[in-house]
Structure formats: C-alpha cells, structure tokens
Symmetry: C2
Subunit: 389 residues, 2 copies
C-alpha cells in the first residue's frame, strides 16, 4: 500500500475511535474486554474511548453478559442508534424529491416528499432545500448530518457536475444544503449511494455492483467496500454503453443500441405497451377466425423482458469478468425487473463468463428498492461523521 | 475510509519511512528540508529517518543544490538505486522462463532465460527454481527480494491457484521459491505485474487497465494505483468473456465467440495465415485472368486485425464505462497489435461509450512490451520490502 500522508497522534486517536465504533457496529453487543481483544487496543485505551463515546451519546450500556462466569458480569456496550438521527434525501425519482429521518442503524423513522411538478434548475434546488427544512423540523434528536443521493455525476466535494434531467451543471449542492441547514452534508451519486446501502445493511460483502434502473440506467460500484469514482467521477455510467450496434434503437444521446434503449423504465414500459398492442391486434384477427390464445399476451411480455435482460447481461459480462465481481444487485421497479428479466440477466452473464471463476456470482434484486437510496444516504453520514461504513 | 486496524508506534515509524522513500522516488532529488515540507514530518524525524536509510544503503547523498542562495548549500538526497538489486521472473512467455536482475529504478542490468521445451507441472517448477538460482549467482549487490509474474490465477499468498498452460493447480510458488533461494519472494499474475510496471514507470497515473495478449488474453487492473484482485483472485480474466455469441468461433473452453478466439496471438496468427491463403488463391485465379492486385493481400490482413480490434473494443467498452477508466494499455507483439488493431480498439471503445465522460481516454501500446512483466516484478519487491510503488 502506498503511504498517503504522515501518521499524527490525533489521527491515531480518531482512527482508534472509528475502529471501536466499527467493531461495535459489526458485532452489535460487546464488553470492553471483547473490544480490546477484537481491536488489539489496550484496555486503558478502550476504557478511555468508550467513556468518550458514551458521553457523546454514540454508545450505550445495555445490561450485562447473560450466562457469564461467576464473578462480576461484563457490562455490555452497543451503538446508541436512537440518541442521534440522520437525514437522507433521494433526488433520483422522476416526479418527486423524497427524504427521511433515520436512526444510526439506517431504520427509517419518518418520510416526507416534495412533488417536482417538472421543476428543474434553481427551482428544483429550492425544492431540495425545502424538503431538507421540512425534515429538519421533524427531527426529535440531535442530527448527525445529511446524506444526499443525487442523479448524475457528482465529484468528491459534493458538486453535481452534470445531472441532465434536473438541468444541473456544476451545482455545489453540498455547499448550498450546508448553508441552508447549518448541518454537515454529504452528496453522492444515487447509484453509488444505493450500493453503499446494500453493502452496509445487506448480507453482501466485498465487491458489489448495484445497477439502478429508473429514468436512466446507472451503476454504483464498491470494491472491497470502498466506492469507485472513476477518472472523471463517472464510474457506473453504463446507460450509454452500446450493447447492440446493429439492431439497436436510436438513443437520445445520438448513438444507437445504448443499454438505456433496452433497460430504462420508460423504454421497458414502451416496449411492453407495444407488445400489448401487437397482441390486441393479433387477438382481434384471431377472434375473427375464432381462434384466440389468451396466454399469448404473457408470452409477448416475457419476450420483451427477456430481451432487455439479455442486453443487460451482455453489458455486465465483461465487467463481471474484468472485476471478478461476486455480486450484482438490481434496483428498480420489481414488477418489471424481478422475473423473466432478472432470470435472463443471470443466464446471459453465466453463459458469457467463465463458470469456474464466477460460479458463485450472485445476481439479485435489491432488498428494499424504494428506500435503498435513503438508507445509503444515511451511510454517507455515518462514514463522514463517525468513520464507519 | 473504513479503519482496518490499530495504529501502533512501530507502524507509524514504518509508514513514515515508506513515506520518505516514496517522496524521494517521486521527486528524484530532495534536501532534508524539502522532505520535511513535502511529507509534513518534523525536521528531527526526517534527519533520523534519513540517517537510517543512508545506513541501510537505500538513500545516498548526491552533492548540493545548484544555484543555492548564499549560505550553507542544502545537501541533496536521492534513492541509491544501485546499492541493492532485485530479481524479476517472467513465467508468462510460451516457450521459456525469462528473468532479470534490476536496480531499484527498474533498470534491467542482466537477463537470463531457461527454455521450457514443453515442460509443465513439477518440471516447469524446477526450471523456475533453476532460473532463479542462475540469476542469484549473477547478482553483484545485496538482493532486496524476488518478484515473479506468473500466468493464471494467483492469490495474495503467492499460491498459483490455476495456470492451465503450465498445469499448475494450488502451487505454493512463493513458498517454494523462498525456500530454494532464501530470499523474500512476491508472486502475482503476469498481467497485474505488467500493469504495475506501466503505472510505476510510465506516465500514467490513477486507474489503468493493461490487456496482455499472448497465448491467452488477460488484463491487470489498478484502481487508484492499487491492484484489483476480485472475489476469487480472477479479476482481469477477460479472455473467456463472450463477445460474439452468434458469429464466434468455438473456443477451447467449450463456449463460442470468446475474446480469445479473436485476440490471442495464436488466433490472430491463424486468421492472418487464412487471409494470406485466401489471397494466394484469389491471386492465382486473377493471374489466370491477368488482373492481379498486390495491395489486396494487405487489405485482407488489415481486415483481420480490424475485426479483432473491434471485438476487443466491444469487450472493453462496458468496462471503460463502468469504471470510467482513463487509460487502457495493450501489451503483446507490436507487429500484430500496433496499427489497424489498436486503431480499431480506440474507435470501437469511443463509439460505444459516452464521449463526454471518456473523451480523455487513452488507449496505447505498453512502453516496453517485452520487459514489462520483469519490470513490474521489481515493483512487487519495492512495494513489499520498502512500502513504495
């Protein structure tokens, strides 16, 4: 590992504090002796750090170890998930901005939303400020910070470099929201935010790619738990990768056969509507001949979903191969994704990569697609304020 | 960033020592005051560390700063690249194992080789041991360590999990070579090793994907300068990603249209030979009609190379898109790769990704394809023994 900077005593203390919090997050309940053993820190250091964390309201005493050996039973500690709150914003939905108040375990305590009514630019920004203000008034505990999942390309300073649907260019979203709320704010791309939620609250660990299917198609990548940003903060922008140069439909970007022409929610809905129309026409003709086939409608819909899944699989196979990914997660409308489409993705990726390397590859739906950005936004705050993930 | 373990005083010292070495590697020549400024460490700490590094023979005094202001001119320090040597082995070539003695700047001082004569398994292992022994006898300075680029899947302990061409399975190569030589040994996949060389000695920085084209096709990936291994140490194994499910040739792996059927050196040579034969046949016919076209041979060869490049581009586009890569480097026979094939890769990747994100993408040949694994092997040793990259 390449050294990045000097190690200072204050850094060491912050590092050790984060290490204790991380260990408590992972293990749920531990004694001071457990913590010393797990972290390798001395008991004196642990006692000192734990006292500080209890006084900060981040760690709480929760009884004694059950079934302890004779003698003084060990005092058990855990994260005090409810003494602080976190605000999460999801700016990636088509028609509204949605926000939540969460506890430190990412449990949603309250949600609010502001309809967009087609707002873009400064109007859309004003609605984000409004939503954050609404939520801040509803918090009932000290607020650790605000996490925001934004569409588009977001740099490390929380500047939205480009979010075409909201017509945001070089918008210092993090700064604006910090100024308006007086709270620390972290902004990241919505798919990256969602990937953080799956990594932190799901069963997965290590490398994960989350593909978020909505108005467009984007992905969030975590390598060994760390978000990947790319050379120009555009990692995961796979929506305009061409998957079918010859047979593809024209795309808004000017190319043909982009992944979005197959996989965005509007593209999927349009293709299904077309299949339904073709069925209706065929049924009308068949009726005339008294030879209707009602299951034919489903068959046509399944063919549409399968073709879309195959094209997503074609785009994913080289990425799965190059990164030797263990987990791909799809997030978006379950009624479209969870079924023939997901099956086709799995089949296509398996058929196009080496089974011996990727036999354990998991391709699955996100655990809670609707809230995944909000919960990931809370992880941004935990990482920024407490150094845990 | 997630904390990985406690910060100990010894760790801090090793970290600071590596930081001083890294700073000297990057800057070439610095005074003690420069080092203090660049690293943020105190002058006392710097003096202490520099004294230790000079006594270890890793840093040397090289005169005084030219054109200094009046007063005592600053003593200049640099890496003492020639006081130690490093041994590198490249086990990835088809017919031989090749090795080199290098200085600490990755300059090759001496090379040796052992012909394989079709050896596999323990016989091939014995030849690697023999080559290392040969090289060790030729070293003229204390040896810092041995770096090895091996084909196949290599885990973090230097065990070759699978290298089909050498018939190696779960071979503890690092351990065997350490035992036989008495030197510290680091083993990594050949493409990863080559990527390290390009990153360390080339102009590139940040993320890089090196595609190594030989008997097979494999890639090495560095994300922010750190090698990516994947969930089962098989990151970069893109040779058996299917790029043409319908039109592809059958592959040894059982699938059809794998990237290797287009891009491996044997596949390229076979396709060129076929094009030459087709030309000869056409020329014979044309001769009969007194209508020969000599440039037609070149045209056929260019078409073969272009088609191969296009298929590599098809495989790379989703990876470039997902990772927002800034640099792709090809390593292999220049007479095959550097020309219409490279041009077709660039054109295809550009046509299949978003220009606004990837406009600055560089696709180029490796700076010194023949020695890239040997030089990368020396980087493995520098990283392991000195903490620099």
């Amino acid at each position: 590992l390449r050294p990045r900077g000097k190690v200072l005593p204050e850094y060491a203390r912050a590092h050790n504090r984060a290490l204790v919090l991380q260990t408590l997050y992972d293990a749920e309940r531990l004694s001071r002796a457990d913590l010393a053993r797990e972290t390798g820190l001395t008991r004196v250091t642990i006692s000192d750090l734990v006292a500080e964390l209890i006084s900060d309201g981040l760690v709480a005493v929760r009884g004694h170890r059950e079934g302890s050996r004779p003698g003084k039973p060990a005092v058990m500690l855990e994260i005090d998930a409810t003494a602080h709150q976190v605000i999460g914003l999801d700016l990636s939905e088509p028609d509204r901005f949605r926000g939540a108040i969460l506890d430190l375990h990412g449990v949603i305590l309250h949600t609010d939303q502001v309809p967009l009514n087609g707002s873009t630019g400064d109007d859309a920004l004003a609605k984000a400020v409004e939503l954050l203000d609404l939520l801040r008034q509803r918090t009932t505990r000290p607020v650790l910070g605000v996490g925001v999942g934004s569409p588009g390309i977001v740099d490390l300073a929380g500047i939205v470099l480009s979010a075409p649907n909201l017509r945001w260019t070089d918008l210092p979203l993090q700064q604006v929201l910090e100024y308006s709320s007086g709270l620390p704010v972290q902004v990241a791309n919505d798919a990256n935010t969602a990937a953080l939620a799956e990594h932190t609250f799901g069963d997965g660990f290590g490398d994960v790619m989350l593909v978020k299917i909505g108005r467009g198609v984007g992905a969030g990548l975590l390598i060994d738990g760390v978000p990947l940003f790319g050379s120009r903060f555009a990692a995961g922008e796979i929506g305009h990768v061409v998957v079918d140069a010859e047979g593809g439909a024209p795309c808004a970007c000017g190319k043909s056969g982009c992944l979005e022409t197959w996989m965005s929610v509007p593209s999927l809905r349009a293709a299904l509507a077309e299949a339904d129309a073709a069925f209706a026409e065929a049924a009308a003709e068949a009726d005339a001949e008294a030879d209707a086939a009602p299951s034919d409608r489903d068959r046509r819909r399944v063919a549409v979903l399968r073709a879309a899944g195959e094209h997503l699989g074609i785009a994913l196979a080289p990425v799965v191969g190059a990164l030797n990914l263990s987990e791909v997660v799809l997030s978006g409308p379950s009624e479209l994704l969870d079924g023939p489409l997901l099956d086709a993705v799995i089949r296509t990726v398996r058929a196009r990569t080496m089974a011996e390397f990727h036999g354990e590859l998991t391709v699955r739906m996100a655990t809670n697609p609707d809230d995944v950005v909000l919960r990931g936004a809370s992880v941004l705050v935990l990482a920024d304020q407490l150094g845990v993930s």
